[in-house]
Symmetry: C2
Subunit: 333 residues, 2 copies
Amino acid sequence: MLQGHQTWVFASKPVIISSAAIGGPFEAQGNLAKDFDLLHDDLWLGQDSYEQAEKKFLEQACETAIKKAGMKKEDIQFYFSGDLINQIIPSSFSARTLAVPFLGIYGACSSAIEGLSLAALLVDSQFAQNALVGTSSHNAAAEKQYRYPTEYGAQKPPTAQWTVTGAGAAVVARQGEGPRVVASTIGRVIDMGLSDPFNLGAAMAPAAVDTMEAHFRDLGLPASHYDLIATGDLSRVGHRIAGDLLTKHGVTIPTEKLTDCGILMYKENQPAFAGGSGCACVATATFGHLLNRMRKGELNRILVIGTGALLSPMSYQQKESIPCIAHAVALEM
Amino acid sequence: MLQGHQTWVFASKPVIISSAAIGGPFEAQGNLAKDFDLLHDDLWLGQDSYEQAEKKFLEQACETAIKKAGMKKEDIQFYFSGDLINQIIPSSFSARTLAVPFLGIYGACSSAIEGLSLAALLVDSQFAQNALVGTSSHNAAAEKQYRYPTEYGAQKPPTAQWTVTGAGAAVVARQGEGPRVVASTIGRVIDMGLSDPFNLGAAMAPAAVDTMEAHFRDLGLPASHYDLIATGDLSRVGHRIAGDLLTKHGVTIPTEKLTDCGILMYKENQPAFAGGSGCACVATATFGHLLNRMRKGELNRILVIGTGALLSPMSYQQKESIPCIAHAVALEM
């Protein structure tokens, strides 16, 4: 059911019956290491390119989630996937491996939450018994495509972020045990005129706030309804801006209740600049760490806001500013 | 409701209350010229780049469809859009202009049908009163990104296709007059090992056939149920292969009932190689020509199969074969 202008409320509360997070060597040294199902010490996973390695991460996340659900890949009815690589090739090639009906999506780093929202919609409206959501990012593949190959040693400002290497996946179903998807708020594109691709957190913060406010308004809920509110990859710079904007708009969220997956991901002493980013940031933090905390009973109701910067290297070269988007999902145990 | 393994049947039969097709100079000389709402004699539309021109085509298609529906842009509840350009920037930037909740999709040249399927799902399941679908492609932008800039004058084989310059859009709603979306069949990724990016029709034909067969099987319908069956952009080479595969699999469709939007688009004497392609191919042919024929009473029931080649220049350079997908929508007047 649509409530308000942009929030889908799922009456049947589709269940996330399993989820998985796969990470790379930098994530293995991070804060959330124990919440990953598998951590690789090699960025290549035995492949010939970083893009193929990213596909492998994604396939492993999907396989692991399917296995944890006690299912086989042919039991999956629909697969939603998207990623940052041109023409979402890791997603499309993982869909070839899975060989199930596939819907490609693109919401930049918000893709996991866009996919989770569509999967919940599909299951809630009885158009499927289950659906799989998966997404990935790879630090070296993203650097090569969006910035410079890492080997060039280009200098970065402290507002830059570190693309998470890894993948997250989740199986959403009508029946089963686990955290439930209660509602999704689909974001509008917000562009405040920022154009610095080394400061995406600042660009995305207004989109995150716009979607959070829409969510609270549509559902008539105070922010205090949630035990934790986590944005996707605003990281330190964007997180502070989002906090300031919320305060300015009269939305009070206690500091300890508002966090960001990009801040959670790495230790302070890791050279991750302002924090983590990439499709795998919100995906691994949510499908690993946050859902684990819900399953352990530490959190009952959370709101996750996937944030995406919808730029491309070409739109930047053509002097465009950065359109941003954020989608939110409300989960409850 | 899910019927069979991969077909969504829309009980409420969401209505396409309006649609629009915008084209460029080459399309103006084509077979379907009279079915375009607007034809431009300039590839640039006054913009500084082909990518920005593509965005303009898409915005015009959306504006025209919205206007024809007697609506304003703020009446649109959700917008689905995807295109071929890296990180789907024409779609994302058009979503910034529209400023309504946005879901980015990617199914290469099948995107219009993926979007139409998701829009129908959303409306049928009462999660929206209406949704807008839009997609675009631009010949010069696609050549530059996928092959060589046109100015290089690179030679092409006759199996190559001509990317349609233009955009198509449609408004899907619960109530109103117009052709109705009866069912959608979501395709699996099919890859028969072909790797020639100058012969995408051949690569995509098996995916089109797989989805058509799934559609007939899931709904227990013979192909003769439809007045016309149109694939998206198999063009002459792929169309012949699809016909042969269907015959081999025992599916009989009379020649005059099986067509392809890439063949319909241009005149035989236009230098379009094997025919049209690109996201705008199936989008403009369907949202313009085919829906017009339905509205005129010439066609009552049609099946449109959007076909997409999920390769990227990088996957080709990395010696990968071409994964393909096809999604089908059944429309009835």
